[in-house]
């Protein structure tokens, strides 16, 4: 459906495009040509499916969570368990696809940006699997709040480069990855980790994640006997959300709900909510989309307890879904998300990533709106192992002496 409504190639309505230095255009065209051919190539698609099945562990299951649902107004809540994928999040779906494309293009090196570290870990994993050199750019602030993932990437053989410019978070890691790519594009593929950036990245990354929604839709029909009333997914750049939303876009009765990092509240100015009226359309990182920016077009730094949602811009297809009204977007504040994280852990024994906890907090709101009889599908995009330290600090679970509280 979205394919037909594109007014120009590489656009989702007015959004998207390819705002990049000329030096990168040839590489983007090469990538587009290869990924379109690969999509039609049974050899390529077969290899990707084999990796999904034997390496990632797909299909990921769905889990109904009745004890958590008691806090969701009596609606039934079903989780799509991307947290059970190898490497702990949905990110592997896209990375395996792009790593296979890297080899197909004859390139030997991959680079990537990462915020929470999940995309970096996934990229480092795929690079190890396929024998590619790997460099990960990560904002200095994020290397500190996600230090466990830095160690994981290094264990996997990747080089992790902390970025000290600008806000020293995800957006600056993207800038640095682009700088590397311009200089090394002949041998290097930039494994962009979300559904933004210059064309063809938004469409290509969405297509690699579309399997989430394709599986989930069938699982809902087979196991629950109906489609959900609403789907909740967190939205940083928006890859897990586009992945689970896309197969449902034509199901007009299914509400698509994106949850953004509300930080300390939209009114505080310290947030990552692009769709709550403060962001305006502009260009960042190669795409025309909603951007948190000041009156002179300078990017405003975002804030979120979740490193993976701490990004001032959002994928252009989300911008279109927002403007068309097909999807709804709401901010979830840091403390709401952390409360949802605690709740799911203690009612169901599932520790979600802080990013995914925003989707759970969304389900708590929407469930109350729908009431008993409603069914909410939640994209549980990642597991919370990486967040144990941050959550322990948030809830004050660490004792000074390291002992168990009496």
């Amino acid at each position: 459906m979205t394919e037909q409504s594109n007014t120009r190639i590489g656009r989702f309505g007015a959004f998207g495009g390819r705002y990049v230095p000329e030096a990168l255009v040839a590489a983007l065209e090469e990538l587009d040509e290869h990924r379109l051919k690969a999509q039609q190539d049974p050899g390529f698609m077969g290899e990707l499916q084999r990796l999904h099945r034997t390496y990632t562990g797909r299909p990921s299951i769905i889990t109904e969570v009745p004890r958590f649902a008691e806090y969701c107004g009596g609606a039934r809540v079903i989780l799509k368990r991307e947290d059970l994928n190898h490497t702990g999040s949905h990110k592997i779906n896209n990375v395996l696809g792009q790593a296979l494309l890297t080899k197909r293009m004859g390139k030997t090196r991959v680079i990537a940006e990462t915020g929470a570290g999940q995309h970096g870990v996934a990229t480092a994993t795929a690079a190890a699997l396929m024998g590619l050199d790997c460099v990960i750019y990560m904002g200095r602030v994020d290397t500190e709040r996600q230090s466990l993932n830095v160690a994981r990437m290094r264990l996997l053989g990747a080089k992790v480069v902390p970025v000290d410019h600008g806000s020293r978070t995800l957006k600056d890691a993207v800038n640095e990855a682009f700088r590397d790519w311009v200089a090394n594009v002949a041998t290097t593929h930039y494994v962009l980790g979300t559904v933004t950036g210059p064309y063809p990245f938004p469409e290509m990354v969405r297509n690699f994640h579309r399997i989430i929604g394709v599986e989930a839709r069938q699982q809902m029909l087979d196991e629950i006997g109906r489609l959900p009333d609403a789907i909740c997914a967190c939205v940083g750049g928006g890859s897990n959300a586009m992945g689970i939303f896309h197969r449902f876009i034509d199901d007009a009765d299914v509400r698509l709900i994106g949850l953004e990092g509300g930080g300390e509240g939209v009114e505080s100015g310290r947030h990552a909510s692009r769709f709550s009226g403060q962001a305006t359309p502009g260009v960042l990182h190669g795409a025309y989309t909603y951007v948190l920016q000041d009156d002179e077009g300078q990017t405003i730094e975002s804030h979120s307890v979740s490193a993976g949602l701490d990004y001032p811009s959002v994928g252009p297809e989300h911008a279109q879904l927002h403007d068309s009204g097909r999807a709804e977007y709401y901010p979830i504040k840091d403390d709401e998300a952390m409360e949802a994280l605690r709740l799911l852990s203690q009612t169901e024994g599932i520790l979600p990533a802080i990013e995914s906890a925003h989707a759970l907090a969304g389900a708590m709101r929407i469930g109350r709106e729908l009431g008993p009889g409603g069914v909410v599908l939640v994209s549980l995009s990642g597991r919370g192992d990486k967040d144990v330290d941050a959550a322990a600090r948030w809830f004050g679970l660490l004792d000074e002496d390291g002992g168990d509280p009496a």
Partner: protein
């Protein structure tokens, strides 16, 4: 014809390449940056490329990133670009603005073009806007008779050299290498090859930028290009200066040396 085109015609008639110097407005302060631009004009720079600092300069290396970050922290505004362009024009050189696209988009493309004309600047260099996405800018620059300086790169395909130069006015900015701004040990053969490939498809002047930092490199590039663009090493002088006077004398000395290199 814009002033940039007049200057490039005049330098060609003199049998030499033009010297194009880049400095971002607002670093270390608006006043000091404009003084530095004026000083380099007095020392022999023919065209000043006035940079608009931007929060996410993904084509720039560490030196220009640092200057941009400091200029923004010090409160530089878009309007300062126009003030700088007036000063440069008054000092006798031609001015072009180098800016990432989002600030222009936010300001309003047509409004930006109108204020540009007013300031005496000749046009825009757009490092992250390729002609494919530039419909609004092409319309505004046609309407206001401004130069639109697009980039070509060693990776540009033959087709793109044709389409990009066809959309360009004023001069073609040839990126000497694959990479971001910043001084390099040497300016490779890639630059000469790219200029030759570009000449085959356009009659426009071709100016070479990225990596040029020494009089020797400027001399080398001047032997095959119509203009030599020098940026990071000039900005470096202002980063390393001990006080404003020191900054101006460093800029004068370097600009003079570059120009003498090209006169050889």
């Amino acid at each position: 014809m814009t002033r940039v085109s007049e200057v490039l015609r005049a330098t060609k008639a003199e049998g030499r390449a033009a010297l194009i110097g880049y400095l971002p407005v607002g670093f270390p302060s608006v006043g000091e940056s404009i003084d530095a631009m004026t000083a380099m004009v007095e020392a022999g720079v023919d065209i000043v490329e006035i940079g608009m600092p931007y929060s996410d300069p993904l084509m720039d290396g560490p030196v220009i990133q640092t200057a941009a970050t400091r200029a923004l922290a010090a409160g530089v505004h878009i309007r300062d670009v126009f003030t700088a362009a007036r000063a440069v024009t008054k000092a006798g050189a031609a001015a072009v603005i180098m800016t990432y696209w989002n600030p222009v988009l936010r300001y309003g493309v047509d409004r930006f073009a109108a204020d540009l004309v007013d300031s005496g600047a000749s046009g825009l260099i757009t490092p992250d806007l390729v002609p494919d996405e530039a419909q609004d800018w092409i319309a505004a620059s046609d309407k206001h008779d401004l130069d639109r300086i697009f980039l070509v790169a060693p990776s540009s395909t033959p087709d793109r050299l044709v389409s990009t130069t066809a959309a360009t006015r004023g001069f073609v900015y040839a990126a000497s290498l694959m990479g971001v701004t910043g001084a390099r040990e040497s300016v490779g053969e890639q630059a000469a090859i790219l200029v030759e490939r570009t000449r085959a498809v356009t009659g426009l002047p071709i100016c070479v930028g990225l990596g040029v930092s020494t009089p020797e490199q400027a001399e080398q590039v001047a032997s095959f290009a119509d203009g030599v663009i020098v940026g990071s090493v000039l900005v470096r002088q202002l980063l390393d200066r001990t006080d404003p006077q020191d900054g101006l004398s460093r800029i004068r000395e370097l600009a003079g040396a570059l120009r003498r290199g090209m006169n050889r």
